[in-house]
Symmetry: C2
Subunit: 259 residues, 2 copies
């Protein structure tokens, strides 16, 4: 496994309960014991190593030595129509794996209303998925996760403007340049062109992906008024999660962050 | 839902049992009834429409009118180190969603041996996942699925040569040109360059993705001898499934099949 063990700041200085997934991973998969070190990081903080001081009945006693900065973020914000809860978990993990700046979950006209009531957002499941994705990439930082009841709310709020300073800094350009993000809506039904033709080199990217059933025409008009380009990713209908990953990969490629 | 109801040839002319997922989808989700038509296709055959002749106790009696050709295949073969069974199912569905030509499951040096014993390959689960992915894309054709015990077996067999005629025809070029496929191994650890620099326009692509723990150095040498370029997709470690999807999306983009 290439990933690291990530701790929340609040967990430092307390024994890690033995039934915790990370404890199971350390003891049973990595076969670590007292005196062994492991790759570690603090959520929102730095990277480095952990040391197992003792394995006690109440858990693993550990110390951390973290001084290394986490990797840069991918200058991409993703908004996505609420997927099914089981898909949401995987999507959050995967988008965090890629290191996107922000994930906005948006209620759309054609989306299933009941999906919005997922417990994941309140029971810690969403955060756990983000942590898992970050750990996989040896990252300590999590995408900013927000929820919007409707696409209109999201378009009025323009959260990408607030994120712009971070986005620009993540894209490695001087903040004073105030580079506009490129606004893209994934749309295989009424597209104005293909992702393939895009050149976003040096620009941050905001990607909007609809729900399973896509965008309503009303939403297409709203997106257009807000400056979004509707681009297709091939002629085949993709699942919401797959479309999100595909769009992020293409944005990485077009932004020159691939290699 | 944009997807279609796919039938295996053997199912034609028999009532579709009411507990079958497709029957549930037709009756409960699409609210279809006697006299209604629906988008349909035959696995390995053509696309068109189905008509519900009757809804009986023993199932839905239907007739098919299928004359439309399925969409073209994506001229991409993917080989992947055996993932966990639950991931395998999703991976097969997603790769089928993209319309790849062939999927080869390969035992790798660093792969978990027990993953190869999945029942999915014998209980029809793998085929069901391929059908689901194809239906999502309104396609009737499934990727060719094969299993190889080791990477060496796969490299000796060179299944992409056998698939080349189909690959070349799918890439829209004359078979007599015998265009060589571009051979790529995804490798974020010891890469020779980035996917971003690749130009595969007009060429079919063969992509090898390792298992969760990546390639052994022995396998890297074998891949190199067989003519594979080791390319990275960014500096972050990706999950096997995510890496496969990312590689296919990039191959689509680089092959000009994106829009």
């Amino acid at each position: 496994m290439v990933n690291i063990i990530l701790f929340e700041p609040i967990e430092i200085g307390k024994p890690l309960p033995k039934r915790d997934e990370r404890a199971v991973h350390l003891l049973k998969v990595l076969h670590k014991n007292t005196g062994d070190s492991f790759d570690a990081g603090v959520v929102g903080g730095d990277l480095g190593s952990g040391l197992i001081e003792a394995v006690r009945l109440d858990g693993i006693v550990f110390s951390l030595d973290v001084k290394e900065s986490p990797p840069p973020r991918l200058p991409v914000c993703v908004s996505v129509g609420f997927p099914r809860p089981i898909q949401l978990k995987r999507l959050l993990r995967d988008l965090s794996n890629f290191g996107v700046e922000a994930i906005d979950l948006v209620g759309t006209d054609m989306g299933e209303k009941s999906y919005r009531d997922t417990k994941l957002l309140t029971d810690g499941g969403a955060r756990a998925a983000l942590v898992e994705g970050a750990a996989q990439a040896r990252d300590t930082r999590l995408p900013l996760l927000s929820v919007y009841a409707t696409l209109d709310d999201w378009l009025v709020e323009r959260p990408w403007d607030r994120a712009r300073d971070t986005l620009v800094s993540a894209s490695g350009r001087d903040r004073s340049l105030r580079i506009s993000p490129i606004l893209i809506a994934a749309d295989n039904v009424r597209s104005e062109g293909s992702f393939g033709l895009l050149n976003t080199m040096g620009h941050p990217v905001v990607i909007a992906v609809g729900s399973e059933r896509g965008w309503s025409d009303r939403e297409r008009d709203e997106l257009e008024s807000a400056g979004f380009l509707r681009l297709s990713m091939g002629s085949r209908a993709l699942r919401t999660e797959t479309a999100c990953i595909a769009a992020v990969v293409l944005a990485m490629e077009k932004t020159g962050k691939l290699g």
